[in-house]
C-alpha cells in the first residue's frame, strides 16, 4: 500500500500540466448546452489537440494508437485535465469510454483499424443505442429486431435516452437477432452508421428544459453484417464488457467536479445574505463537512478501484460500489445546495451570488446519476447477487 505516485507517474503529471498550461489559454469558452453542432465542433477540436500532443487514448494500447499508459496514469490524466478545467470529454464520451474499449476487447482487426483511429483523432463521434422504451433496467427485454437479408441486417425498432445522437456518426447498437432464443441469448452488437437511410433522431427535452438526449427510430435500416462485433447472438456478453468499462473510471471527472461544486457551495454558504450566513447554521456546516468526507472517501475508493483494475486487468465490482454511494452523495449535495440557496435556487441563472446556477443544475443532474448507466436499484441487485451471493428474486 503506497499512496505516493511513482517518479514516472509524477513526470507524466508534470509534462501534462506543462502542456495544459500552454494550450488551455488558446481554448475558448464552451458553447451553450443546446448548441449541438457547436458542442461537437468544440469537443472534437479538443480531442484533436489531445491526439496531436500524444494524450489521446491514454490507457489504450499503443499498437491501436493509444498511449499505452497504466491505469494510474489514466487517473492522473483525468485528475489534471479536470483540475485545469480543460474541456470535458463531452460528445466523445461513448467513443472513448464505451465503444472504443469494447471494440479493443471484442472487435476484429479490420473493425479496430476502421473505427478506433477516428475516435482518437476526434474525427468520428459515437452514441449508444442500448436502452429502449420497454427495456431500460431490464435491458435484455429489448425488441429492436435485426433480420438477416444476404450480407445485411434489416433493423427496425426504437432506442431512447441516446446522448449525442444528433451529432453522432456511429451508434453502438444492441439488436435482437434471434427472437426465439432466451432473452439474453438472441442479442447482437452492431455498429450502426447514423446516416443510414431509415434512421430518424428526435431530440427529447429533459427536465433541464433543454435537449440532452434523443429518441432514435429505426425503420428497415440496412446494416452490413460486417458491422457486427463479436459472434451473432452473443451481444449480451459484449454489452457486459461495455458496462464493466462504463463502471470503471468513467466517473472520475464527475467526482472531481463534485468536489469543486462543494467548494463553491462553501463559498456561497459563507457569503452573507439578509444579514446572516448559512455557514453559521451548525447543521449546514456539519452536512458540508460530512459531504467533504464522503467525497474524499470516494476519491480513495477510486484509487483502490484503479489499483485493482491494474492488478487484474479488468474493472471489478468497485464501480457499482462507487456509483451507488456517489449517487446518494450527489443527491445530498444538491439538496443541501438548494436549502442554502433558498429562493435563489429557483433559477438555472446565477441569482444567489457566484455560480448559484451551477448548484441548481447540479441538483437536477443528481436525479440522472442514480438512474443512468444502471439505476441504483439495479446496482444493488448486482452487488447483492454477484458479490454477496444472494439468490435472485422470482
Amino acid at each position: 500500500m503506497n499512496l505516493r505516485y511513482s517518479e514516472s507517474e509524477e513526470r507524466f503529471r508534470g509534462e501534462l500540466r506543462g502542456w495544459l498550461d500552454k494550450v488551455l489559454p488558446t481554448v475558448g469558452p464552451p458553447p451553450a448546452s443546446d448548441d449541438w453542432p457547436g458542442r461537437r465542433a468544440y469537443d472534437t477540436a479538443w480531442q484533436r489537440m489531445l491526439y496531436e500532443a500524444g494524450y489521446a487514448g491514454i490507457n489504450w494500447p499503443k499498437e491501436l494508437g493509444g498511449r499505452g499508459a497504466s491505469p494510474t496514469e489514466h487517473l492522473v490524466f483525468l485528475e489534471e485535465t479536470e483540475r485545469a478545467h480543460a474541456p470535458y470529454v463531452g460528445v466523445n464520451f461513448v467513443g472513448l469510454l464505451h465503444a472504443g474499449p469494447t471494440l479493443i476487447a471484442e472487435a476484429s482487426p479490420e473493425q479496430r483499424s476502421r473505427y478506433l483511429p477516428p475516435i482518437l483523432r476526434g474525427d468520428e463521434v459515437w452514441c449508444q443505442g442500448f436502452s429502449e422504451p420497454g427495456a431500460g433496467s431490464d435491458l435484455a427485454a429489448l425488441r429492436t429486431r435485426a433480420v438477416r437479408d444476404g450480407d445485411h441486417y434489416v433493423v427496425s425498432g426504437q432506442k431512447i435516452w441516446t446522448s449525442h445522437a444528433e451529432v453522432a456518426d456511429f451508434c453502438e447498437l444492441l439488436v435482437r437477432t434471434d427472437p426465439h432464443a432466451p432473452k439474453h441469448r438472441g442479442i447482437s452488437w452492431l455498429v450502426l452508421p447514423m446516416d443510414s437511410p431509415g434512421v430518424e433522431v428526435r431530440p427529447l427535452r429533459t427536465i433541464y428544459g433543454t435537449a440532452e438526449f434523443s429518441e432514435v427510430f429505426l425503420d428497415e435500416v440496412r446494416v452490413p453484417v460486417a458491422n457486427r462485433v463479436g459472434v451473432e447472438n452473443d451481444g449480451w456478453r459484449v454489452a457486459m464488457v461495455t458496462f464493466s468499462f462504463e463502471r470503471g473510471t468513467a466517473f472520475v471527472s464527475e467526482l472531481l467536479q463534485s468536489m469543486e461544486l462543494l467548494e463553491s457551495l462553501v463559498g456561497i454558504a459563507r457569503s452573507t445574505r439578509d444579514g446572516a450566513q448559512p455557514w453559521d447554521d451548525l447543521g449546514v456546516r456539519r452536512e458540508l463537512g460530512h459531504l467533504a468526507a464522503d467525497l474524499d472517501a470516494l476519491w480513495s475508493l477510486t484509487k483502490r478501484n484503479v489499483t485493482q483494475a491494474s492488478r487484474t486487468g479488468v474493472p471489478g465490482v468497485g464501480g457499482s460500489v462507487f456509483k451507488l454511494h456517489y449517487s446518494e452523495v450527489r443527491h445530498r449535495l444538491g439538496d443541501l445546495a438548494l436549502r442554502i440557496l433558498d429562493r435563489a435556487g429557483l433559477s438555472f441563472d446565477d441569482l444567489g451570488g457566484a455560480r448559484s446556477g451551477e448548484q441548481v443544475k447540479g441538483w437536477v443532474h443528481a436525479l440522472s446519476i442514480s438512474i443512468a448507466a444502471g439505476t441504483s436499484q439495479i446496482q444493488r441487485n448486482i452487488l447483492g447477487e454477484r458479490v454477496l451471493g444472494l439468490p435472485r428474486e422470482r
Partner: protein, 325 residues
Amino acid sequence: MDFELSEDQEALQDAVRKLCAGAYPMATVRSLEAHGGVERDLWRRLADAGVFSLRLPEPDGGVGLGSSEAVLVFEELGRALVPGPLLWSHLGAAVVDGAASGELVIGGVERRGQGGPQPLLLVEHLAALDRLLVLDDAGVWELEPTAVKGELVPHPLDPLTPLHAVQELPPGIQVAGPDTAAAWRLEGATFAAAILLGLAEAVTDMAVAYAKERQQFDRPVGSFQAVKHILADMLVRAEVARAAVYAAGAHLDDPGVGDVLRAVTGAKLMAGDAALANGKACIQVHGGMGFTWEVDAHLYLKRARVLDTVFGSTQAQAEVMAALI
C-alpha cells in the same frame, strides 16, 4: 501509486484473523462480561501477537511496523468484537513499561479543554486497569487507577465495556508532552475508525449469512429485493469506509501524501457512519430475533456507539471537516 495490501500486510491480516478466531470466539467474548471485558491470559495472547508493540521500534522490543499495519490489526479486532482498552494499551505501550508485553493493562480517557465544568467523565474498564492515562492538550498524564474515585455505572449500554462515572481526575504524572498528545489524537481516531470498520464488516457478513439461511414465504429472505438492497447498502458503506480508513493509515505513515488531519477526520466519520448504520441494518435483517440478547447483532451496534464517542464523534468530526474545507 498502489492502494492495495502488500503480501506481508495480507499475511498480517490473516494471522490476526486466525488469532481472534482461536482466542476470541463469540462464546469467549460474551463470557468476558463477567471479567469486566478483560481477561489477563487472553490479553497476553494479544500482546504476544504484537497488538500493543506493533508500532514500537524493534530495539525497544517492538515489531517496527506502521500505522497502515496497525489499521489492519484493529480492523480484525473489531471484526471479532474483542473487548478491552485496546486503543489505549496500544498507544500507552510507548510510554508505560509493561504495556507492550501485556503485563499491564492500560486504559485512558480524553480530557477536553481545561478548567471549568467538565462534561460527564466516563472511564472505561477502570476496575481492570493497571494504569490510567489522561490525554489533554498539554500532554499525557499517568494515574494510578486506584486513586480515581468513581462510581460503577450499573447498566452500561455495551455490556463488555464497563464504565465508571468519575467526578474529578487526580493530577497524575506527566509522561508525554503536547506533541505526543496531538499525535495520539490522530492515531487514536484512526485506529478507532479501523475497529469501527471491522464492526461494520462483521455485521454485514452476519446479516448476509442469516439472509441466505432464513426462509420466509418459502424462499430465503435474501432473495427479496427489500432485504437484498439493505445488504447491498451495508456492503457499500463498509467498502467506502475501508477506502477512507486505509487511506488514513497510509497518511499517518507518509504525511507527505496529503492532509493528514483531513484524512483521519474523514476516516473516523465514514467508519462511524458505516458501523452505526450497518449495526442497525443487521438487527433489521434479523427481524424479531435481532432484538434479542441471544443474537450478537446488538453487541456490535453497542460497541459502535462506544467507539463513536471516543477520539471525536461523527458529529464532531463533521465540524472539524467543515473547518478544513
